[in-house]
């Protein structure tokens, strides 16, 4: 547990009477890239959102870098954390959404520096410099002054990635980052993500891009009905799935 970046144990989540996560166990080592596959409605997004406490879990526990997320355990009692502490925990965890969710009233540069200057209190000159460096890295240094709606979907998603990286997160969560994109724009976003993986960033990626999983993932996890039903290296899970549900799913997407 001390070496794991993410340690999820028996994570349960309900929405009313609907049991969405039924005891998820998952460990992600520092520097590891885990791709999560699974049919729609299997709870992939919910699980990601539990990791940065956008959803409060109903049972089990999630640790990120050794720290219990959303709760405090002391002397055998567990208490909910206050909002301020949850906010602090989220700063260490970057998230990229299917719908990009850039702030449309701010320019690309303002989108990126908003959290570092406002939340981390970085001096604005330094935050700006870092932002421009990140924009160069995602290949959009000439778009710093543009508004999100002036960009293509692929460009917006790359800005969203830069925005998350600006907080220097230990862990990045990607929830179907290419699902809202036109097919010809998927490649540029996946290439950006691959370069992050090559740099050793710890990433959990929910995607239906099997090619990306095969090429970039250290491990592929298959989720169904709120459970991890199969986990292993991409060659094994993708080529030789042991579980019939994994087989059925792969036969549909491949």
């Amino acid at each position: 547990m001390t070496t794991a970046m993410v340690h999820a144990a028996g994570v349960r989540k309900r929405f009313g009477h609907l049991e969405v996560l039924n005891g998820i166990d998952l460990d992600v080592a520092a520097g590891e890239v885990v791709v999560v596959l699974g049919p729609s409605g299997s709870g992939k997004s919910t699980f990601l959102r539990c990791i940065n406490h956008l959803e409060t879990i109903d049972g089990g526990s999630i640790h990120v870098d050794g720290e219990l997320i959303g709760f405090r355990a002391e002397g055998g009692r567990v208490r909910h954390l206050r909002k301020r502490e949850i906010t602090r925990q989220r700063r260490e965890i970057g998230m990229v959404f299917q719908q990009f969710n850039l702030f449309p009233h701010l320019t690309v540069l303002q989108n990126i520096v908003e959290a570092p200057t406002g939340v981390r209190r970085e001096p604005s000159a330094r935050a700006r410099e870092h932002a421009l460096e990140l924009l160069r890295r995602v290949g959009l240094e000439d778009k710093a002054g543009a508004y999100p709606r002036q960009l293509s979907g692929g460009q917006q998603q790359r800005v969203a990635i830069a925005r998350a990286l600006a907080m220097r997160p230990k862990l990045m969560l990607f929830d179907e980052p290419t699902s809202a994109l036109d097919p010809e724009l998927v490649g540029e976003v996946l290439a950006t993500m691959k370069s992050l993986a090559d740099d050793g960033l710890t990433m959990i990626v929910v995607t239906h891009e099997i090619g990306f999983a095969r090429e970039v993932a250290d491990r592929v996890v298959f989720m169904d009905d709120g459970l991890v039903v199969e986990s292993g290296p991409p060659s094994q899970v993708l080529e030789n799935p042991a579980n019939p549900r994994t087989k059925a799913f792969l036969s549909k997407v491949l």
């Binding site: 906010t87 602090r88 700063r91 719908q99 002054g145 002036q150």
Partner: protein
Amino acid sequence: MTVTDRRTEEEREGRAEVDVAGATRPRHPLRWVASLVLLVLAAQLVHLLVTNDNFEWHVVGEYVNASIIGHGIAITLELTVVAMAVGIVGGVLLAVGRLSENRLLRGACGLYVWFFRGIPVLVQLVFWYNLSALLPRISFGVPFGPEFVSGETNHMITPLLAAILGLGLNEAAYMAEIIRGGLLAVDPGQTEAAHALGMSDARTFRRVVMPQAMRFIVPPTGSQVINMLKATSLVSVIALADLLYTVQSIYNRTFQTIPLLIVACLWYLLITSILYVGQSFIERRYARGATRQAPQGFWDFALLRRRAKTPEVPS
């Protein structure tokens, strides 16, 4: 299909070259009639304005710049600004309360809106003005405990304060609904993204949600300001010397009722016209980022210059 084709064989077959340049347009005789009627009515109106001595235009000219009228306008504007400020601040608080997770707070704010929207503002004004009949003394202090400040209601609730309370608290109820609607119109994904970046609720509200909600809040707020300016004339019933009360007090002495009312009308029209221009400009400003076009500058807008068609940043 049983539609008969009325075109001749030649027309159907022939692809004779046609040039539509210089084609005659269909005539609209009714438009001509309507225009004629309007012209006649306009001529009659001008004739009436010029020949009817009851307008007493020289009296209008005499008072339109009078300093006493200026004082009335100042009160009208001051009331509009202060009551609107009370309305906006109260509206934000009520809107946030109505969207809060605390059920009791939600209920209380809903009750406020129901109550103040349900009673005519004129009645509310008169009520505040007569508050001393209900509560002869007002005091501030610890509930059921010691008092810090207290005084005669009649001294504390001046006509001006009664007007501000009456107009402002009523306005807060309407602004609450406008602001709540604006906040709900912002994509919840925006809040999620801000939270995921580690932004607090307050910062998310201030930096992400509110600026985007402004696009939905500003246009109706502009019409609220204009309505407020007109509604301030109601305070003449509680003897506050606004524009209307001022002209009334003059014509009660001089009996020049019509010309003085015209003076009031001219000023109300002038101020509302200025507000309309300001409102449209602010509306455009808040459309920033909502379209691919660059925002238009104030003078370009005010002088009705056409905006450039090219986007600010080509993508």
